[in-house]
């Protein structure tokens, strides 16, 4: 079995009224399914002011700096303040990416073009990827997200669900045609993965589970979706870990080891 890096998870106290797993719970699940590290995103930060949620996410992830990789979230509806918040977060090298959820954050990037361009340019300058939820109208269609990669060719843009339920063929074509557009295989099924591979190639696909937003079982379900697609060992290595390691620059900047032994997060 190849190594696994999960490029799409959520680590928060709750999702609306539903309590979420703690950092300790999440790492136990990663251990159980032999996942070496996970990119972690907020959930409530999509609904509420981002700075406090970025700080809370960092505190949670910092309990396991060798396993949990926080992505910052900003609200582009706030204009200049969004760019400032992203600069603040990315000044800390623990943040290795940016996450948007335009559907839940309620914005169409085309209505906020100047701010989005600023944010994308900041991400490019810090050499971190920007992952956006895709597959859901009216703010997060796969075409809308892919457009951002055309606006800012210097920025690495990741389709958060590689087309999700209904846009897989579109995702595959766009990932093939746009050099800086990648797809997080998080939700589509084995038959869809074959299409993504055939058109976009194994170097453009990253494994993600979305677990943390739902319970632990989502992680093995989504690993199954990869393993049942009949891939070669080389394809598996790239999709399950190699591409993520490259975009996260893990060779250049390995994850920090914990300064103190891991402690259980108070719940």
């Amino acid at each position: 079995m190849t190594r696994i890096i999960d490029f799409h998870t959520h680590l928060d106290e709750r999702w609306l009224h539903v309590k979420c797993d703690s950092a300790a719970d999440m790492v136990r699940t990663l251990d159980r399914f032999e996942v070496e590290a996970a990119c972690v995103f907020t959930i409530m930060g999509f609904y509420e002011p981002c700075p406090a949620h970025n700080d809370a996410l960092l505190r949670r992830a910092d309990q396991y700096p060798d396993r949990l990789i926080p992505f910052a979230t900003v609200d582009p509806k706030q204009g200049r303040a969004a760019a400032d918040e992203l600069e603040r977060c990315l000044a800390n090298p623990r943040f290795r990416g940016v996450k948007f959820h335009p559907w839940l954050q309620a914005f169409a990037a085309s209505m906020l073009r100047d701010t989005m361009l600023d944010v994308l340019q900041i991400a490019a300058r810090h050499r971190v990827p920007v992952l956006l939820h895709d597959g859901t109208p009216p703010y997060s269609t796969t075409y809308q997200v892919a457009n951002l990669a055309r606006w800012s060719p210097e920025t690495t843009i990741v389709l958060g669900h590689a087309g999700s339920a209904d846009y897989v063929d579109a995702a595959a074509q766009l990932m093939r045609d746009i050099p800086n557009l990648y797809g997080c295989y998080c939700g589509p099924r084995a038959g869809d993965l074959r299409r993504l591979l055939d058109l976009a190639g194994p170097e453009k696909i990253l494994f993600g589970s979305d677990f943390g937003a739902a319970g632990w079982r989502l992680l093995p379900e989504r690993i199954d979706n990869v393993l049942e697609a009949g891939l070669t060992d080389q394809q598996l290595e790239l999709i399950l870990a190699g591409n993520a390691a490259r975009l996260l620059k893990l060779d250049e900047r390995p994850l920090a080891q914990p300064l103190l032994p891991h402690r259980e997060e108070a719940r």
């Binding site: 099924r189 084995a190 299409r195």
Partner: protein
């Protein structure tokens, strides 16, 4: 963990559509490998959307272990109804409608004669659900209210982004059931806990999904023997009027 002695797949697909392709012989091979005894298959692509006779012939000629869920685009009107009549004569076990691909609102007038024909034949109707606008699962609930004697199945279970509606949708009418093929295990578990295992059918969504992945999703729920029997074969046998196990 052990599974039910017999497994009926309530939602497989035959034919070709964009990048998906599956023949009857390949489906049988996959069924054998997974221990699936019977699959209910509906057409893909042009056979589903425009050339219904070709699509229906494909699923109806694949038997005896593959049973036909046939379709006629409601916009064909009387020609579509005649196609359903023909399919009944050659052994169809139910109707499949894809409002997204076939281009209709479940609540508009065009499909109503098709629902009436299903009612006349005592056929269940499997709707594709999930994508917004045409395939809204809440539209299927409205149809289920109007036709309380027809059994409906929410194909794909609202996957992906109507997942937050599917449980309440199943609970709001007694004649709507879940095809568990693409919904994640937490969503399936919620429906079983709130409304009972009799409301859930095992489906594979082959060739989009794989049997092994769909079966392991249900295995992780650690179902009781009675729940397994209901989900893996009992509910499909009852709803689609299949021959009972011997």
């Amino acid at each position: 963990m052990s599974r039910a002695a017999s497994i009926i797949d309530a939602h497989a697909m035959l034919g070709e559509e964009t990048y998906l392709s599956l023949t009857a012989s390949e489906l049988l091979r996959r069924m054998d490998a997974a221990g699936v005894s019977t699959a209910l298959a509906r057409p893909l692509g042009a056979g589903l959307i425009v050339d219904n006779r070709a699509g229906n012939d494909l699923v109806l000629s694949a038997g005896p272990r593959i049973r036909g869920l046939v379709s006629a685009n409601p916009w064909w009107g009387d020609r579509g109804l005649a196609e359903l009549d023909r399919c009944r004569e050659v052994g169809a076990v139910g109707m499949f409608l894809d409002p997204l691909r076939q281009g209709f609102f479940p609540t508009e007038p065009a499909p109503v004669p098709f629902y009436e024909r299903a009612q006349q034949y005592d056929w269940p109707i499997v709707f594709r659900t999930g994508a917004y606008v045409f395939a809204d699962v809440l539209a299927v609930v409205e149809v289920a209210r109007r036709f309380p004697t027809i059994q409906f199945v929410a194909g794909f279970g609202g996957f992906a982004d109507m997942w937050f509606e599917i449980a309440d949708a199943i609970g709001s009418v007694p004649n709507l059931h879940l095809d568990a093929s693409l919904l994640w295990s937490d969503g399936i578990e919620e429906i079983i806990k709130r409304f009972g295992a009799q409301r859930v059918l095992f489906g594979s969504a082959e060739p989009r999904n794989r049997y092994a992945a769909a079966l392991r999703t249900l295995d992780r729920l650690e179902l009781s023997t009675a729940e397994q029997e209901a989900i893996f074969h009992g509910n499909a046998t009852r709803i689609f009027h299949l021959e009972p196990l011997r």
